[in-house]
Subunit: 340 residues, 2 copies
DNA sequence: ACGCTGGGCTAAATCGATATAGCATCGTTT
DNA sequence: AAACGATGCTATATCGATTTAGCCCAGCGT
């Protein structure tokens, strides 16, 4: 029932637990354990299928070989796909992942950080919420490897992997303009987090650069925690309130999904009557008819870079912060191609 | 930097660590610790924000307050949504979740079980793959709480939570028949796991009960690991090969998604030329036009029951196996309503 | 005055691994 | 032959909590 411990091996081999530990940790040479003893121990360990007790090891070494993954919502396709990549990559390094969803709620996020902390995770992958900067800095000063994702705090020097949200939004908006759409609205979150700001700025700058008039009435901000039904109501109210509207840019995948739903229930023809582009790709966008143009994030790449940076920092603490900005890709589909 | 330990509290309170442990574990009464001392310790613990080191505790007690969640694919909407529910429910009981995806690959599943085992998780939520029965029984005989989900092994007595796959498929098929569809095919996985068998049986029995002729040529089985492109090819080949076909039942959500894609690329009109029903709901099905009829699993309920059973077993080992079969719901949408 | 009971608390062992300090033994050097 | 340095291995403390066994003292009965 109980697992095989280092003592069991020691007993069978007729040596001390210390020796066994040395050998199994590859320190045989360094600690001058003879070939014979070394081999004998290896053999017995294999035969008994010895697996070190991670708890005991963690208690002694302070390393749990576990990383904490804090996402906005594990049920959201973007984060779930990322979780999959992170799981795979971490596994390659012998790490397991503890996850948690913040719902973009600062209190929940703080709670998660605390739990992960006293569970002694070795490193953190964090999708930060508003006002989480202090907590992040606290962790940093505790010398814990951390990497932010999806967004970051401009005034905090930390690792992060994000996409160029500005460029993504800029390209999306420019694309709509080039397709002949004239009055382009944006639906975003009522959030002043950097990723949302950047997307909004990309949008406004694109309008400016192409000499398309901008007005505040073209911007709708929805609270994060609004449910589907109410979001749809708000979006519909907004879309019908803008005169001569002929295109919308949705700033996140689920806003895009709500948006499509809303537009459809208004009976408007996507693509013709109203151009649509959303941030983030999703099966829905690909399969929708008409298919929805989107700004796609390279999820595999993001996940790989995240784990890569984290592992490097786990092995060489105090590395200089890595701030990685990946290129999003504009995937043009039918929803933005049939103006006129 | 280092956390507050029980010793720190003991020192401040001028008592022994033992006493502190008793008090903080609610054994003050039982261990006859005086009110005064008890309160003093509580106060100090709160002030220092003491959090027990889970590793140390786990090492001593053998309980890690962690459960392992093995799913088929965490990036799949169904499993991701479930992971969210499991996370929330487990959290209520103070448990964290370690997850892993099998890709329906037995070797990966075995690897996951092993890792979770030597990480000493307290209990397991498992979406089993083929041939995992032996490993499950081994865990069971090690007295580890386990609950299977989505599928189970008929010859193994274990806890499980599933939906009535037979009934779901039966209702879906019957519904198509009642809507006037005459020649109904099924696309399923080349798997002899119970959930797939049941779905197939539900389908055939429905045909039989409604006196609709059945033929082997109406069944297509795809391997699990076929990628999107090849799956689509296979599905298209299959659909065009069946004479007078006028409806299809897809036995899983991603088969449904592939199916829609395939049918669309064949240029067939869903609902009119070909009725479609899929197992599992998905945003895509709801938003597709025409919207896709589906057999929806009650994900929230599934997750809650799973964690509930697991927690009960964690607290009272050797309970009798709970085998919970929930009702799926047929959600009728346009894809099955426009025959003729 | 002596033993007994029970209240209130603690010393020490323990979980399984790792890290540190150090003990024999043997061959070599001067 | 005493000193020295490798060589090969081990005893012991440690991580932070829990748990077992039991100490000490006060009050009580006889």
């Amino acid at each position: 029932m109980k697992g095989i411990s280092i003592k069991d091996i020691a007993k069978q081999a007729g040596v001390s637990p210390t020796t066994v530990s040395f050998v199994l940790n590859g320190k045989a040479k360094e600690k001058r354990i003879s070939e014979q003893v070394s081999k004998k121990i290896q053999k017995i360990a294999n035969r008994l299928k010895y697996k070190p007790n991670q708890l005991a090891r963690g208690l002694r070494t302070g390393k749990t070989k576990t990383i904490g993954l804090i996402v906005e919502d594990i049920a959201n396709n973007f984060f779930a796909s990322l979780a999959k990549v992170v799981e795979d990559e971490a596994d390659k390094h012998g790490y397991k992942v503890l996850y948690g969803s913040t719902e973009d709620n600062t209190e929940k996020a703080k709670g998660l950080l605390e739990v992960l902390k006293y569970r002694q995770v070795d490193g953190y992958i964090i999708t930060p919420t508003k006002n989480l900067d202090k907590d992040i800095e606290q962790l940093k000063s505790a010398a814990k490897p951390i990497i932010l994702m999806d967004r970051y705090f401009p005034h905090v020097s930390s690792n992060y992997v994000v996409v160029d949200n500005y460029k993504g939004a800029y390209n999306a908006t420019s694309h709509l303009i080039k397709q002949g759409y004239k009055k382009i609205a944006v639906v975003t979150l009522a959030s002043d987090q950097v990723q949302m700001k950047d997307r909004l700025e990309g949008y406004t700058q694109a309008l400016k650069d192409h000499h398309v008039p901008f007005s505040k009435t073209l911007v709708k901000r929805l609270p994060f925690d609004l449910d589907r039904v109410h979001s749809n109501e708000e979006i519909k109210k907004f879309l019908t309130s803008v005169k001569d509207l002929d295109a919308v840019f949705f700033a996140t995948n689920y806003l895009g999904i709500y948006g499509i739903e809303s537009i459809r229930s208004l009976g408007w023809q996507i693509g013709k009557e109203i151009g649509v582009v959303s941030f983030d790709d999703h099966d829905i966008f690909r399969l929708h008819s008409p298919a929805i143009t989107c700004v796609s994030q390279p999820i595999g790449e993001i996940g790989r870079r995240i784990v890569d940076v984290l592992m490097k920092e786990l092995n060489h603490p105090f590395a200089t912060p890595q701030q990685i900005v990946l290129e999003p890709e504009l995937i043009v589909r039918e929803s933005s191609m049939h103006k006129g």
